[in-house]
Every structure is written in C-alpha cells, then in structure tokens.
Amino acid sequence: MSMFVEVLTGGVRGGTSILYAALGESVSERAGVVNLGTEGSILAGALAGYAIAAETGHPWLGVLAGAFAGGLLALVHAFIVLHRGGNQLATGLVILFLGLGLTSLFGVSYVQALAPTFRAVEIPVVGSIPVVGEILFRQDPLVYLSYVMVPALWWFISRSRWGVILRASGERTEVLLANGRRVLPVQYAAVVAGGMLAGIGGVHLSTAYTKAWFENMAQGRGFVAVAVVMFAARQPFKVAGGAYLFGAALALSPALQARGYGINQFALDAVPYLTTLIVLIVLGRRRNADLPEGLSKVFQASPSG
C-alpha cells in the first residue's frame, strides 16, 4: 500500500470520531451554543456504546446507547446555559469533567469486556477503484454512516426550512419570535442533537476504531472537534475536511515509523492547530462576519476593539 493511501485511509478512519463530534458541535453552534463539553459526550458515547454492545451483542444498539448518553450529557449543558444562565465556556468545561468522572467511575467493569465490534467492509464495485476506493470504501459501517451524515446535515442546515429555524435561533431570535416560534426548544434540540452526534463519534472510537473501552480514551479529540468547527465555520463539508486533516496528521507518524523513519510526533501534532489558526487569520474578517450573532456573544463578551 502506498504511503499516500495509507495515511489518507488512516485519516478517514481516525478522523471519523472527530467528524461526528465536530458535526454535532456545528449544529449546536448554529443555535448559538458552544459546547466545550464535547469531549465528555464522546467519552459517554464511547462507554455506553461499548457497554451496550457487550451486554446485548449488537453493536448497532451500542450506537443508539452512545447517542443517548452523549445527548444526555449535552442536555445538562443545555439546561445550565439556556435555563440557568450559566456561562457557556465554563459550563462546557464542567460537563467535560463530569463526563470524564462518570465514565471512569462506571466504565471499570467494561475494560476487560468483550464486545462485538464494527469491522471494515469493502463496498462492492466502488471499493475496487484504485486509491479513492481504497481510501473511502474499505471502511467500517459507522464511517459510511458519516458519509451520509455530512451531506444530509449540509442540506438540513443550508436548504431545509428547519435549517432556517435553527440558524435563526442562533442569529436572529426576533425573526423566530415574529413567526410565533419559541427559541428555547430549538436551541435545546440543537444542543442535544450535537451531543448525540458526539456520542456516536465516541461509539466509533470504542467499538469500531480501537475495539476497547478505556477511561479518558478520547485523549483530547473533543477539543480537536471544537477547533475543527472553528476552522470550518460550521459548514459540514469543510468540517469533514478538517476532521480528516487532523486524522491524517495522526496517521502520518506511525506510517513513517513503520518505514523506518524517526519522527518527532509533536511537530506533526501541532500542524492541525497551526493550520486552523492560519486559516482563521487569513479568512479573519470575513470569517468573523460569518459568526452567528448568538455565538459572538459567547466568544467575545464585548465588540471587537
């Protein structure tokens, strides 16, 4: 296998959990709510997915459980910030600690559990296309589900009536109110949906990618997802690109090492963050203008100097 194919295959595989979480964060941010607790939802999803798959023998039930657990944690975030006026960034960090603590506490008995897991399945015909087929169509079912999820979310956000309502809840609440709709339920739904997607990302991490549950196994992928969303300005296709970029940076090091090249992993690790920063700088003004109004209140408490 050429190194190019290997790294990109690994980028898709390793980027998928980040992709789900970043898609979820995009939905949430469209409604004006930032959730730094994404990492917690990933962990909750990873544990619930693995545990339920182990208990029932059905990985797809694990996916449902993971989505439920990730959504539940996001619901706590939504309640505190939407109902109780908690600061979004601070509350999100607390949600992260909560998720980390609870999953470690209740995950102990599943470290050694054997669960049925998702395996890579080659899709007939397209899977045999050189390069593209190798990279995209010899993956596991949750990767394929994410392929559907990206355009579906794009359509939902940019083209559907619901998308208009979602965006309005984060930008022009007065438009919603004028149309006789309530803002809060829309925001609640968006935050919870975001947590559910992050939860599915966690399920991918535990039952498809690593085939194990281990405490704190997300290792910062939730924060990576938040960075990807900044990079991609909450647009699903760009989110996918960003997630795969992070994934590829992670896959590059072992690919080089297995070929006998020494590498300082940490120079590579910084690349995606630097790229995000540079993209933000280059697109600065314009990107900033794209920021939903509700979000700019979170990200910058006062207008820019």
Partner: protein, 359 residues
C-alpha cells in the same frame, strides 16, 4: 477622561445598600448553599451506589484533607499556579475579554523558565537566576496571551478561540522540546528535561513543600485587587468591559487596553509556570501542569473575576482535588470520583446560585 480622574468605584455603592439589596444578597448566599448541598447530596447518592457510606466518607474527607499538614501543603502547592492562571482570566475579563488560554500560558512560562536554566547552564544561580527565569516566564506568558489580543484587534478573531488553539500549540512546543532538543541525555529515557539546579529552586516554607511561589501568588492577587480598585488603568479596563463604544467615545485607547490586559494576565500565568517549575516540579516532563489552566478558568468564573474571590476559589478547587486522595485511600472509591464531585459542585454554583434566566 484624564488618567488622574477620581475613581468612581462601582462597588462602593454597596455601602449604601438598601435593605432589599441586603435581602437579595442573603438569598444569593442561601441559594448557593442549597446548590452546594444538592451537589454533595447527589454525590452521596453516587457513593451509595458504589457501596460507600457517604457520612463516613465525607467525614474522612474533611478530617484527612484539612487535618493533615502534608495535605494542606498539597492544597497550597496546587493552588499556587492555579491562582496565577486564574488572575490571567480575571484581568482580561474586566475588559470583557475571555482568556481560555491559561493552560498554554502556564506551560509556555514553564518552558521559558526552563530555557533560561538550560541556557545559563549553571553560570548563574540564586536570586539572580530565579529573577531571570521568572522574567522570561512572565514575558513568554504575556506575549503568548498578547498574540491572541493582537489577532483580535487586527484580524477580528475572538480571543477565546485563539487562546484555546494556542493551548495546544504550547503543549506541542513543550513536548517537541522535551522529546528531542531538551531531553536529559543522562535521564531515564522518558521525555523530560534535566532538573533545575538547587540554586535555581524557590525556597521552601520551613519543613513543608509549600514554596515561595505561594507568596508570589498571594501578593499578585492583592496587587491586582488594588490595581482594579485604585488605579485609572483598572477603572478604564472596566469601562471598556462595560461598553466599548462608550469607552472609545470617551477617548480611551481601547486597543492598548485590550493588549495590556492580556499581556498582564498572560505574564501572571507565565509566572505560574515558573513557580511550578522552580518550586515543585524542578523539571519539565509530560503532563506538566496539564488541566490546571482549565480549572483556573473555572475558578475565575466561579468568583466572577474578583481577585480575592478568585484566590479563594482556587483554594477551594484545589481542596476538592486533593480530597480525592481521601476518597481513594479512606473510602476506596476510584480515582475518577473526585472529577464527578468537582463537576457537581461547579454545576451547582454555575447553574443554581443566581436567578437570571437566559443570559
């Protein structure tokens, strides 16, 4: 508005608080206590699920955390960098800025201090070495934070976004160095620098592990408190934080204020990295101050960015973290339980201590 204008202390009006205001304040305290009690009760339920008697567990937690001098020393040692990093959140917050980058500013401060130690290579030691290391750390932390302020002013990227990204870059910078250029060749093989020389270590307080850094942190807190209350800079920061447009019309240099607040905050966090290096860890290694920046962020929000309160909040959060030792050793609960306890307490405070609905 001239720099020498008398300072109208917005909180001074508290002295003329009406009965209604006092009642509201009492209700606030009451709500907070209820929130804390609810958090502790919820955690007690969790302990029961885990087969632990919560009454004994809480009793052990308090006696062994606050009744043991080494644990109290542990609280203070842990609180030291937290306080400095929390001030790095509180100062910009006064100008309406959100600094999520305490983590990166702490680490880059530690990296700079270690860099001085490596560059000096034993040629200086004692107070001069410590001052050089502290200065380097403060400058590095300040610039790291000011970068975010500059990007906000020139390109318009929110500082909360850039400071968050810069955290990861700081960690990778440290890893890159300790894994490669700075790795102690005579060391054990794990990525770590050599230790700073004994002459480059902060003096300890008597027989304890508490180091001079604590004094630095406490002094910094009171200085920030005094600056907020008694200088025109502190007042102007508040004006910018309250209404940027009005501040601009009043002729304030908003850009300079934004940059200076981040610079000062970052410098304090950098200093926190230095005190941890020279007072507690002595070398950079994987995990150096990981997570401290985020806890510091929470501490500053917990105390609504008021310096003295921020300091106490840091002591409170370190106490909770260190009570985890007791939960493990006395109550035999898993190590992670303390994260749940901390999260419940913070959720209680953030979510239930005030009445305002949607912000």
């Amino acid at each position: 508005m001239s720099a020498t204008a008398p300072i109208a202390d917005p909180t001074g009006s508290a002295a003329r608080a009406t009965l209604a205001q006092r009642l509201a304040a009492a209700r606030g305290v009451g709500r907070l206590l209820v929130a804390l009690a609810a958090a502790l009760a919820l955690f007690a339920v969790l302990m029961v699920i885990k087969g632990v008697n919560p009454v004994t567990a809480y009793k052990d937690m308090v006696t062994s955390t606050f009744g043991d001098s080494s644990q109290i020393a542990g609280i203070l040692v842990r609180a030291t960098p937290l306080i400095l990093a929390s001030l790095a959140v509180a100062i910009p917050a006064r100008a309406g800025l959100i600094n999520v980058g305490g983590e990166g500013q702490l680490i880059i401060g530690g990296v700079a201090a270690m860099g001085v130690s490596l560059a000096a290579d034993g040629r200086v030691s004692g107070p001069i070495a410590l001052i050089l290391m502290g200065l380097a750390a403060a400058i590095a932390g300040g610039l790291w934070a000011a970068l975010a302020a500059v990007l906000r002013i020139t390109v318009g990227i929110a500082e909360s976004v850039t400071t968050l990204l810069l955290n990861y870059i700081a960690i990778d910078v440290m890893f890159f160095l300790i894994y490669d250029r700075w790795k102690d060749r005579k060391g054990s093989g794990q990525p770590a620098t050599r230790a700073v020389s004994p002459g480059e270590q902060l003096p300890l307080w008597g027989n304890t592990r508490v180091h001079l850094g604590l004094l630095i942190a406490v002094v910094a807190t009171f200085v920030v408190y005094a600056v907020f209350r008694g200088t025109s800079w502190g007042f102007r920061l508040r004006v910018v934080g309250g209404n940027t447009e009005a501040a601009r019309r009043a002729g304030l240099n908003v850009r300079a204020l934004i940059i200076s607040s981040m610079l000062t905050g970052g410098a304090l966090a950098g200093l926190g990295g230095f005190t941890q290096l020279a007072g507690a860890e002595f070398k950079l290694r994987s995990g150096f101050l990981f997570g401290y920046g985020y806890v510091a962020f929470l501490a500053s929000w917990l105390a609504r960015h008021r310096p003295i309160g921020v300091m106490l909040a840091c002591v409170l959060l370190s106490s909770i973290a260190i009570s985890g030792d007791s939960l493990q050793l006395d109550s035999k609960l898993p190590a992670a339980s303390v994260n749940v306890l901390m999260a419940l307490v913070l959720l209680g405070v953030f979510g239930f201590s005030k009445r305002e609905a949607k912000s």
